[in-house]
């Protein structure tokens, strides 16, 4: 498989990368881990004229907690997320389920967020936990909430000339728990169905904040807002989670395809929501 012709710019700084992107115009594309972009080029479904390699830029590879946030730089690989002890809840649960070990060694969390593949795992997780995407363009830095960032299948609200430099994910201050249940056909497969759950509990044990999002069952990663609203203020219980699961199943609009029927996928959403919320609650109660 041979990609079509392209030029390569190796950026040494964020400024250089942003400038190169502006110079390249529409035919320019950032290259992070290359785990989505390179296969697309080899299959000739993507034909960038200029690749702007950001891998040599210093200072983008940290994953750490500061100021009440988990900060993830643009060059943090999925494998770094797996290995990090700064992660929590749904983030920690999801990391080992992203792709396979080889892909995780190169692919980046920010690249995955920027790519907005509706079958990608990270955007669901971040929709559940909440997160800000930090973007830098010619006119400086701005923050976009993940819910505003994810715009559609393979499209985001990131500007043509902006680079995602990092993610800022709020770290819950009280008791919290999360999970990511993913049904995949084999290791390295995108989700057939996945459910991200995030719960925070107050002192009485009631749910004070809830996040629930679905992967691969809608045209984009989907936050189940009505289920989240239902959960907040309630004591965790099997019945409550079953009710939330019905809302999640109703929010899913899966299609029949080679992975399975729509009816079955909806059933998996239901089951995984129940199990995922229960796992999140259990983790929160033990925290």
């Amino acid at each position: 498989m041979f990609p079509s012709r392209f030029d390569l710019v190796v950026a040494q700084s964020v400024g250089e990368a942003v400038e190169a992107k502006a110079d390249a115009g529409e035919g320019g594309r950032f290259l992070a881990g290359g785990q989505s972009l390179i296969p697309m080029m080899k299959m000739r479904v993507a034909f960038p004229e200029t690749l702007i390699d950001i891998n040599r830029i210093a200072g983008l590879d940290a994953i750490e907690q500061s100021n009440g946030h988990l900060q993830v730089g643009a060059l943090v690989r999925h494998a770094d997320v797996v290995a990090s002890d700064a992660t929590f809840g749904a983030i920690a649960a999801a990391a080992p389920w992203v792709a396979d070990p080889l892909v995780r060694n190169r692919g980046t969390m920010c690249g995955s967020v920027a790519h907005c593949d509706p079958e990608g795992d990270w955007n669901s997780v971040l929709l559940a936990t909440g997160a800000d995407v930090v973007a830098q363009g010619p006119n400086g830095e701005r923050s976009i909430s993940i819910a505003d960032f994810v715009d559609g299948a393979f499209t985001s609200t990131l500007g043509e000339d902006e680079l995602v430099v990092g993610l800022r994910i709020p770290v819950p201050s009280g008791r919290s728990g999360g999970s990511y249940l993913k049904l995949e056909r084999k290791v390295g497969d995108y989700a057939t169905v996945a459910v991200a759950s995030h719960l925070e509990l107050d002192d009485s044990g009631a749910i004070s904040a809830a996040g629930l999002a679905l992967t691969s069952v809608n045209p984009i990663n989907t936050k189940v807002a009505d289920a989240e609203a239902l959960l907040v203020g309630q004591q965790p219980s099997e019945d409550l989670f079953a009710e939330a699961a019905e809302l999640a199943a109703a929010a899913a609009e899966p299609r029949d395809d080679v992975r399975g029927t729509a009816a079955w996928k909806r059933q998996v959403v239901r089951t995984y929501t129940k199990r995922g919320l229960a796992a999140a609650a259990q983790q929160a109660e033990g925290s």
Binding site: L183, V258, Q267
Partner: protein, 783 residues
């Protein structure tokens, strides 16, 4: 298991000698097709049809031809001028090399670009303009045989429908009688879906035709280089002495490298016309969408049984999806391979098998993917059917099998469809596997789990294969008898070279076949070089597939080594001044009967063969044997799988897999176990995830490894291996072949296990792959 008769330093039969080929392959010193880099090589890329069925109204290649670095764009019209637009298949059909009239499947070869580098060749494809007129695609054989279906093979004289072949065997009258006597008839309809061998190395060729001498040196990924040389000579009209096929290291074949593909023909023609080497290496997608697929059989099986669970007869109706061309690689006499081995391991008098195949707008191929000519489908059907019958009659599936097995004393056993099984002890095999897995306890656990709402299933498959084709009176491919050969040359220092007609693709021939010689002559296996794949340097043979290498090539090796042993004994007698008939040979030492201290070694004899001979004897120590097997060999095995099914999602997981194999004498037990683990993995793959399917427009779904799911170590269950060893009575060293047993036998065990978990709900069939949504739907429909 019999103990080895040679010491470990010699490494004869029964020793787990380390694979001699591994170091080279693991350290990157192998020589695969794509490693071959001749001076002035040109590169070929193929334009393939995006549509499943369309008329070609014209091809404009002018823009592509104008690109710098492009030497030629080859179309069907150009091939036609040389009489090469079509080629014969191994099943007596013809197949398009480059399309002239229509495209008949997505991925079909339409044109080829020859350029100075592969990037330019691939770029140029985008500049070829093909004017397609879309025709209705046909994606199932049922659709294909409907009245009024579009005619796919309209170019074929006398072809008025989409029927590819019909074939029947067995005794219809006797079978009807058996069914009339039955207490009940048990029916199972099931589809064995289309699969693809997906070798890690895709197919490729470097064709190097010398414009002065006409000598064509063709490096190609071939499982059957000698047969391919002859077919090249017959198809392309090249004199056979001018064709040398070299099949280098092969990164997996599994049947996919048996056929001759259009790309080979076009690259060779291009090299001939241009006078420079032409290289073509398929991409993964090209390999998956266009080269030899496997299976795609729709089967209906009926068993006539008594209330006690005795099988009286079998009736099978099979419809195969052949794709656009009927190009199964199979023995000429048989239209559906050896599918008629479908009577399995059971003793009953009557069977009738009715087969037909249909053309569809899908890739052709029908190769035996790790399977001896459609035996996988047969074994799957009978093992699923016997389990269904057990449920219907109300007896345990293990008991059902034990009740109907061919008994050890019945061998040689002639089946209702004419195979003569050589040897076996099926009850011992099944009972041994049942003991290992703890069958009775498992049945109890299953009942307890059910009471708690958990679904546990236990699936058995007891398969019998027919491999090692085969006897020349019955088996030929395109007229070439399925014999095979070995040539053995012992050098003066006692080291040897063994040349084979078969060709390894990873099976370990360089080790195993050396061990056969080591066993007979006592030359250490590591002193024997095994050569194969180069038709100028090895004797003729039909190649490696259908588990035939050990049954046929291995037999030839044993026989040629014995010939040299006979000559060696005479030389030893001369050296020891004893009578020929008093010489005994054991582990490389020739001694005189009764006085064991008088001895010489095989190394002494080898030197003498070139220096010091008895009066009148010809110099040298070498010979060649062409082996025509008297019968096929019949390996078998008992597999038991335990699964748990999640009733809420249909997801199932394997908890245990016990696999007992009997492949006769095991030459290298480690290699045998490696083959079995690989085969079990592929069997699991087909049962769980690995299939090629198509949408209604005929688009192939499964065109890359994101869509075509080959399991990794992560998904693959752990296997517990067991063995019994009943030798083949007619094979020179009692071996039966094992390369394919596990792929053949295991899918039914996995599927039977899932069905067993839900059988109490009335579920009798879920087609492969047993995807969780199918399981969930079956449960949902049943409750």
């Amino acid at each position: 298991m019999a103990a080895p008769t040679t010491p470990a330093e010699i490494g004869g039969i029964g020793h787990s000698v380390q694979r001699k080929e591994d170091a080279r392959l693991i350290e990157g010193q192998g020589n695969f097709l794509d490693d071959i880099d001749l001076p002035d090589t040109l590169h070929m890329a193929i334009l393939r049809s995006p549509l499943a069925h369309a008329r070609i109204n014209g091809i404009d290649s002018s823009a592509a031809t104008a690109i710098d670095g492009v030497l030629a764009v080859v179309t069907g019209d150009l091939m036609d001028q040389h009489g090469l637009a079509w080629m014969p298949t191994l099943s007596g059909d013809t197949q398009a090399v480059l399309a002239t009239d229509k495209v008949r499947y997505q991925g079909q070869e339409v044109a080829a670009v020859i350029a100075t580098d592969p990037y330019i060749a691939t770029d140029a494809l985008e500049h070829i303009v093909v004017d397609y007129e879309e025709l209705p695609p046909i994606t199932t054989p049922q659709q294909s045989l409907e009245e009024g279906a579009a005619l796919i093979r309209d170019e074929k004289e006398g072809q008025t429908d989409n029927l590819a072949y019909t074939w029947e065997t067995g005794d219809q009258g006797a079978t009807e009688e058996a069914f009339a006597q039955a207490d009940r008839v048990v029916t199972l309809e099931t589809h064995y879906p289309r699969s693809h061998p997906a070798p890690l190395e895709t197919c490729g060729i470097v064709a190097d035709v010398n414009s002065v001498t006409g000598q064509a040196t063709i490096y190609m990924t071939s499982q059957a280089p000698h047969a391919h040389r002859t077919l090249f000579a017959m198809v392309a009209g090249l004199p056979e002495q001018n064709i040398r096929i070299v099949s280098p290291d092969i990164g997996g074949g599994f049947g996919n490298k048996v056929p001759i593909y259009p790309g080979y023909v076009v690259a060779t023609a291009a090299s001939l016309l241009i006078g420079q080497p032409v290289k073509w290496v398929e991409s993964r997608t090209e390999n998956l969408i266009s080269t030899g697929f496997a299976r795609d059989y729709y089967m209906k099986g009926e068993l006539a049984v008594t209330d006690e669970g005795r099988i009286l007869g079998l009736r099978v109706d099979m419809l195969s999806d052949q794709g656009a061309f009927y190009s199964d690689a199979q023995p000429t006499q048989f239209r559906a391979g050896l599918f008629h081995v479908v009577t399995g391991s059971y003793d009953f008098p009557a069977a009738h098998i009715n087969c037909k195949g249909a053309f569809t707008n899908k890739a052709p191929g029908g190769v035996a993917y790790r399977c001896s000519f459609r035996i996988t489908e047969a074994s799957y059907l009978i093992e699923r059917l016997v389990q269904t019958a057990a449920y219907e009659v109300g007896i345990d599936p293990a008991e059902m099998r034990l009740k109907n097995f061919i008994q050890p004393e019945q061998f040689p056993y002639e089946t209702a469809t004419g195979f003569v099984y050589d040897s076996g002890d099926y009850p011992t095999a099944l009972r041994t596997a049942m003991n290992e897995v703890g069958y009775e306890d498992l049945r109890r656990e299953q009942a307890e789990a059910r009471a708690e709402g958990r679904l546990i299933g236990i699936g058995i498959a007891h398969f019998t294969e027919a491999v090692g084709a085969g006897p020349s009176r019955t088996y030929d491919i395109a007229g070439l008898k399925m014999i095979d050969s070995a040539e053995l040359r012992v050098h003066p220092t006692g080291k040897a070279i063994l040349k084979l007609g078969v060709k390894t693709q990873g099976q370990g021939h360089e080790t195993t076949f050396a061990q056969i010689v080591a066993e007979v002559l006592g030359i250490p296996a590591n002193d024997i070089k095994v050569e194969h794949g180069d038709t100028d340097h090895t004797p003729y043979g039909l190649g490696t597939y259908a588990s035939r290498s050990t049954p046929v090539g291995g037999a030839a090796t044993a026989v040629v080594a014995r010939k040299l042993a006979e000559k060696s004994k005479k030389i030893a007698a001369h050296l020891l001044e004893a009578a020929d008939e008093d010489i005994e040979l054991a582990s490389g030492v020739f001694s005189v009967a009764g006085s064991p201290d008088r001895s010489v070694t095989i190394q002494d004899v080898a030197l003498a063969a070139y220096t010091n001979l008895p009066e009148g004897m010809e110099y040298g120590l070498e010979d060649v044997t062409y082996y025509d097997p008297p019968n096929l060999t019949y390996p078998y095995g008992s597999y038991i799988v335990v699964v748990e099914v999640d009733p809420d999602t249909g997801v199932w997981e394997v908890q245990r897999m016990v696999a007992l194999d009997d492949c006769g004498v095991r030459i290298n037990p480690m290699i045998v176990e490696g083959q079995i683990c690989g085969g079990l993995t592929e069997g699991f793959a087909m049962s769980a995830m690995q299939w090629i399917t198509f949408d209604d427009d005929g688009n192939c779904i499964g065109a890359n490894f994101m869509d075509y799911l080959v399991p990794t170590a992560w998904e693959t269950p752990r296997f517990e291996l067991l063995a019994t060893e009943v030798p083949s009575p007619h094979h020179p060293i009692g071996a039966k072949g094992v390369g394919e047993s596990a792929t053949v036998g295991s899918p039914a065990a996995f599927v039977n296990a899932v069905i067993d978990a839900v059988a109490h709900l009335g579920v009798r069939n879920i087609d492969m792959p047993v995807l969780p949504d199918r399981v969930w739907a079956a449960i949902d429909a049943a409750v």
